[in-house]
Symmetry: C2
């Protein structure tokens, strides 16, 4: 019987679960509402029920599961398998999620933050396959990510590595939600992209976005990218501001961990290859010409499945390293 | 007979050599002129002669040497043990320095860049002892450094990690020698600190530095720090500019690799604890207050011996890992 690995992607809205084989094939997947407000015990029940249902509906059994992985949002203690706190999980305070789940499943469980799990998925099975030094960056409401250095995730001493959104690229620049000034997230997140467009429209800029702005009181990042694709000058300027800050961020990250490839993910990559091309363009503007820096900049390939693939693949990795 | 490790620090002016025991005690050390212009074979002769003399003068023999480490400046291929090019070594082009030295010594040789070797020394035997996630930064004519992540050096795919001086902290900021704009090195290296003071003096700023400036046509970084300690307002402003950019850099680095400790080294740390205190002050100004970030900022403790201790300690590490 083939041994499989269970991946759990715990989100504020949904729990996603999937099964992976040794070759990183996603055999099956499902999702269920998290109902985080009910608290940790109810969420653990929901996870185990969802996993059991997924297995039985696909002709699999818990006996065939070698190990599980779970990815969580929030502030975590990775080594201890604890959720210290998480914005959408008000009742989760110092919850030993890894060990609770391990007891319920009677399986070893690997614990990771959600961005690192998605990073690991792209590294082992997606756009970073075969690349041992890789950066992964999610462009959503905020900007997060993960770092693979010499084939392993970088966690940092306080499990605080890869907070890429809060790298300051402009001293005394735009205020960020985090309280710092000049963070790349204040320019380039989906929220900041929409906000910068809204500010320009408010100030009277001519744009094909005006109708949406006057109807809704704001515009979305998706609106901005759509009108950019249609050639609207304001939208092009805003998108270039977004990509310019990301290109500069790539320069900085290159000078720190020296990646072979930088993989962008998150909602914003729906814009397609033009996004990677524009980031690359600005990267080339900002990088030194002392010596060539042939870092690759590309888009993630696993989409919404990255969380379940990554957590299951981390369980597989732990098994291969004899760390279960 | 105790087994010892030989460390070689290859510099443009001098070759330094030292012997380390298993407990990181520096048993003896020496130095000799590099005479790099004579080319790779002559430099290898000089290294082996210097090492042989060091051993015999200290009652040691080549038989007791388990392995050697060598740290080199320049653009390197670490895995291949090659010097691709190095500014003060005009005849060094794609030189297999590691294997040349290994053949001459009849010992395994570990090869590393000079900044990483010094980083490793502080990590194993200096200000970073016991800290598995550490950053090391040298403040000299330029700014370089090294990264320890989970107890290992980060090299990057192209051996291009830890180019801390060329992290851009100000988009479209001061021009840097590297061709980029707004690099931290353009504000905070010893050369940039002296240059910013010279610019202000040229523009007519009042300062106790003026006499030196008018006599010599410029001021040194050391002058600026000395006059800062005496309370000269311009010198204080210049030093604060230096430390402000370094504090911001610490914020950025914290958000990337998540170190427990950041260790500053290089000529500028002759200024003493005030330097670390001022960098810490600005770090606190720029860092978010979302959650505490108790990263430690301190000064290196091994001084000029870091190169020989680090290279020897890397040879010891390779031996302990069974990688010789």
């Amino acid at each position: 019987m083939e041994r499989i690995f269970l991946g759990i992607d715990l989100g504020g809205t949904n729990i996603k679960a999937g099964c992976l084989d040794h070759n990183f094939n996603l055999l099956c997947k499902t999702a269920a509402p998290t109902d985080a407000d009910l608290g940790p015990d109810a969420v653990i029940d929901r996870i185990t029920d969802t996993a059991a249902k997924l297995l039985s509906e696909n002709g699999l059994t818990m006996e065939s599961v070698e190990a599980a992985g779970i990815g969580s949002p929030g502030t975590l203690n990775i080594a201890e398998g604890m959720v210290i706190s998480a914005p959408n999980f008000p009742k989760f305070r110092n919850i030993p999620l890894r060990d609770m789940l391990s007891r319920r499943l009677s399986k070893p469980v690997v614990f990771e933050n959600d961005a690192n799990a998605a990073c690991w998925a792209e590294y082992r099975a997606g756009a970073g396959k075969g690349v041992n030094d890789m950066l992964f960056m999610t462009l959503g409401t905020g900007i997060g990510g993960g770092i693979i250095s010499n084939g392993e995730l970088v966690h940092g001493y306080f499990d605080n590595a890869a907070e890429f959104g809060h790298i300051i690229i402009q001293k005394d620049g735009r205020g960020c939600v985090c309280g710092q000034q000049g963070c790349v997230e204040a320019y380039s997140s989906a929220a900041a992209t929409a906000k910068r467009a809204g500010e320009a429209l408010q100030a009277g800029a001519k744009s094909s976005l005006r109708k949406i702005f006057e109807t809704n009181g704001d515009v979305t990042c998706k609106d901005v990218f759509e009108h950019c694709a249609q050639g609207d000058r304001l939208a092009v300027n805003i998108v270039e501001g977004t990509c310019s800050a990301l290109g500069l961020l790539c320069v900085n990250l290159l000078h720190i961990t020296g990646p072979q490839r930088i993989v962008f993910a998150g909602g914003m990559i729906a814009a397609g290859q033009i996004l990677a091309d524009k980031i690359r363009y600005f990267f080339e503007q900002y990088i030194w010409h002392l010596k060539p820096e042939p870092v690759e900049i590309c888009l993630a390939s696993l989409g919404e499945d990255a969380g379940i693939i990554g957590t299951a693949a981390l369980a597989l990795h732990a098994e291969q390293q004899g760390k279960l």
